[in-house]
Amino acid sequence: MKKETWKELPTGTVNIHAGNSVSNLTGTWRSGRRPEFIEKNCIQCFFCWLFCPHFAILVKDGKVTGINYDYCTGCGLCAEECPTKEKSIVMVKEEIKLAEGRKK
């Protein structure tokens, strides 16, 4: 993210870039586990979307399509609340830590 100087910044501590936190990739906090989406079991109830604190459930054309690992922190709420008998989201071990994104 380019740092603005006093020449570009509006006066009065105003942020005119609504929603620009999306450049902060919270997925870099994830450690040890991540959710995996199993489409064939999914009944499109949207509970995972509802209960994800980090807005990391991908929705396309009115359907849940997967996980956005750029923001997923691995809290496990989606998998826990997924109601299907054969889980449509499971938590799996994740070896790699994505530390680079933090510096962006």
Partner: protein, 312 residues
């Protein structure tokens, strides 16, 4: 009025990804629903606390709508001022008189039950057309877990720590919702994120009524409550099932309970998964467990009586 999650999911987010709230935090769950409960533009006045600090670390903001910072003590006054300003602009013909804008003040329990209560009371009494939402995580979370007047009886917090001489907080939680009812405003309600439809409906009503409305929403805080963050929604369900956090609304003075558990569970089921109550399960604190159950029972009974009187 039944709304579908699928449709809500396709609305634009007014609070977006990249915020810095903890793993499993309940705050985004609450505002994901509330910010969708009106189609009109919203101006948010935010008292400092986790929500504000984690969403507005300069030069970033997670707010995708009009938003204004407030000090810890005056979110309600800020929102009231903004509402009055828009009224004046309409009167002067600077914006169309029929332009619909919603004003939302938000604060934590510290910012609402404690330091913000006078500005909140003032704004409610003056009748500003604003919605105030308190996300009640029972503690001053942002500054490391000090007790507030919303911290429940028996909870350990950094300024009411449990130890050999202390069973945790010895004072009962303040009943702020009832204090707001006593302001005789058109709409007051308690909600919880696990019952999303109820939360959505309440936010919708709050936005739609003319005059002030107040929502008190239980807010999960895995960091300060000390539980496995994946279990948050089940925990919120337990708060409702034990009647530790009843879901009800008061419309024009009339009480209505929105959720009655088929079988009221013992309060220890809500306490047990949380580290902040761990000490209560030692033998010497058994009396406190009993006291908590007694208080919950009495409050639930009182609430039922109030609903009965209201004819609901």
């Amino acid at each position: 009025m039944a709304v579908k999650l699928k449709d809500l999911a396709q609305m634009e987010d007014k609070l977006v990804a990249g915020h810095g709230m903890c793993l499993g935090c309940g705050i985004p769950l609450i505002f994901k629903m509330i910010l969708r409960a009106t189609e009109d533009p919203i101006v948010v006045a935010n008292a400092t606390g986790c929500l504000e600090v984690c969403t507005t670390i300069f030069p970033r903001t997670a707010w995708n709508c009009m938003w204004v910072h407030s000090a810890f003590e005056n979110a309600a006054a800020t929102a009231a001022g903004v509402e009055a300003m828009f009224k004046a602009l309409k009167n002067k013909g600077k914006i169309p008189a029929d332009k619909k804008i919603k004003f939302l003040a938000v604060g934590g329990d510290g910012g609402t039950y404690d330091i913000g209560i006078q500005s909140l009371s003032g704004a409610m009494e003056r009748g500003h057309d604003i919605v105030y939402v308190c996300y009640d995580n029972n503690v001053y979370a942002n500054t490391g877990g000090q007790r507030s007047s919303a911290t429940p009886l028996g909870a350990s917090a950094t300024t009411s720590p449990a130890g050999s001489k202390s069973p945790g907080k010895v004072q009962k939680k303040k009943d702020l919702t009832k204090i707001l009812v006593a302001h005789n405003i058109p709409y007051v309600a308690q909600a919880s994120p696990h019952r999303w439809q109820d939360l959505y409906n309440k936010a919708k009503k709050a936005f739609e009524v003319e005059g002030p409305a107040f929502l008190n929403v239980l807010c999960l805080c895995p960091t300060e409550w000390k539980y496995d963050e994946s279990q948050g929604i089940k925990l919120a369900q337990l708060a409702a099932d034990t009647c530790a956090w009843p879901l009800y609304e008061v419309e024009n003075g009339k009480y209505k309970i929105n959720y009655k558990p088929k079988e009221k569970k013992p309060v220890l089921e809500w306490l047990k998964p949380q580290g902040r109550f761990r000490h209560l399960f030692k033998e010497e604190n058994a009396w406190m467990l009993e006291a908590i159950q007694k208080e919950v029972d009495r409050d639930w009974e009182d609430l039922n009586k109030l609903a009965e009187i209201s004819g609901a």
